[in-house]
Subunit: 219 residues, 2 copies
DNA sequence: TATTTGAATGGACGATCGTCCATTGTCAAG
DNA sequence: CTTGACAATGGACGATCGTCCATTCAAATA
């Protein structure tokens, strides 16, 4: 009987996909624990439990595997961000808070992901492919913040008020990531959230009512 | 005639000191251009124009040379910071602005130093010695900001208002460094300064008069 | 001037790096 | 069941890594 072309991957393809992902996962784990320098071919294949030739088979080059790993970090960040945005009411103030919560939440900001982000960034000067993903993340985030502040302030997105508010907010969150990176032990997630909301409220006119909404959301 | 023991270094010691510094300088330049990974023994001795055995002679280990290079970055940062602080009037608001100007000024924030700082940070997970200098820098800065905000607000240094103001300010400046790192081409130094001052003014009570002093200093 | 000191040299060393490929083993098509 | 396809293996390869040390040579001392 002629079989309908199976939509689900067959055993071969499944195994291949599993190996592909195992290499990326192993690479990220090693980078988190030992930095980019520790991510040698030998360590990666050891950690993944696969054989030496797999990196060349799946990624052609170790470099390209690292780029894929960086891309996967950026993807995860955005997936989490839009989960928060989609779950929030469609009001600019609520969306703003949702974006901050996504950025400072456990799934984006934790010991493993932060170690990986800073490791990739540190190597970005040498390998601009990494920078592309650090930068892509940043550019999309900047556009989202700019649009949200424009809506919140009732201004066009190219006014100084909007641009400054977006720049300051992004800087604040970046700074909180750096704080976490340097003192993950002492870092207080709720305090970071409170400070960010407080600083943003300070630069917005009383009339937009952000202060009240932010205050309600303080935990 | 018996000569008085020369207080200035003799030719030998001078040459040794020059080589010592040449190795650190070469290392920092390579890290700025090619990242930590590019700083191999071969590259360092090539760049410095010295011979292969010098790293072992002066630093015992390449690792220790990198640590010395990181320490030299932290030293430069603090030297510049205190130059600004010492030049400022002994008033908390002026000192606060001086610290921000030191942090965002050309001598601390430029393409070379930022590339180096982020490279060291990225490798900090692997080699905690680097982290010590990133962290030392941060801790002293944090203490200075906390003391200044305490004075400005007339509160003790352990009140939430003071701690939050210091945390937010440090985060803002960290974030501006990250912005510079990711978009050194598009970065606007004066805009960054304006945003930081604006955000700080927003969280301080009108009564401390920071807004007016900050506004006067906007360029 | 003769001797001692130690800064500086540069090649040798084993370890590890990333890449490549002949071979193996297993799944899917014929 | 046989055969072709291909995911997977793991060792070989030259290049480069960081360390070490026998040697050189100029400066300081006697």
């Amino acid at each position: 009987m002629e079989q309908i072309q199976t939509p689900e991957p067959n055993k071969r393809a499944k195994s291949k996909a599993r190996s592909h992902q195992a290499l990326i996962d192993a690479t990220l784990e090693i980078i988190a624990e030992e930095g980019i320098g520790g991510a040698s071919v030998s360590r990666i294949v050891e950690k993944s439990g696969l054989s030496r030739g797999m990196i060349h088979l799946h990624f052609e080059t170790k470099e390209k595997l690292l780029v894929e790993a960086a891309r996967s970090m950026a993807d995860d960040y955005y997936r989490n961000l839009f989960e928060f945005i989609d779950a929030a009411p469609d009001l600019p103030a609520q969306r703003l808070i949702a974006m901050i919560d996504a950025d400072l939440g456990e799934s984006s900001l934790n010991a493993k992901t932060i170690a990986i982000w800073f490791a990739f960034r540190g190597a970005a000067r040498a390998h601009n492919e990494f920078a592309r993903y650090s930068d892509t993340r940043d550019r999309r985030l900047r556009d989202l913040f700019t649009a949200t502040f424009a809506e919140l302030l009732g201004n066009s997105a190219d006014t100084p008020e909007v641009i400054d508010a977006a720049n300051g907010t992004i800087a604040l969150m970046e700074g909180m990531w750096a704080d976490y990176f340097l003192h993950s032990g002492a870092f207080d997630r709720d305090a970071a959230r409170r400070v960010v909301l407080h600083f943003i409220a300070g630069v917005l006119p009383e009339s937009v009512g952000f202060r009240r909404i932010a205050a309600q959301s303080i935990r």
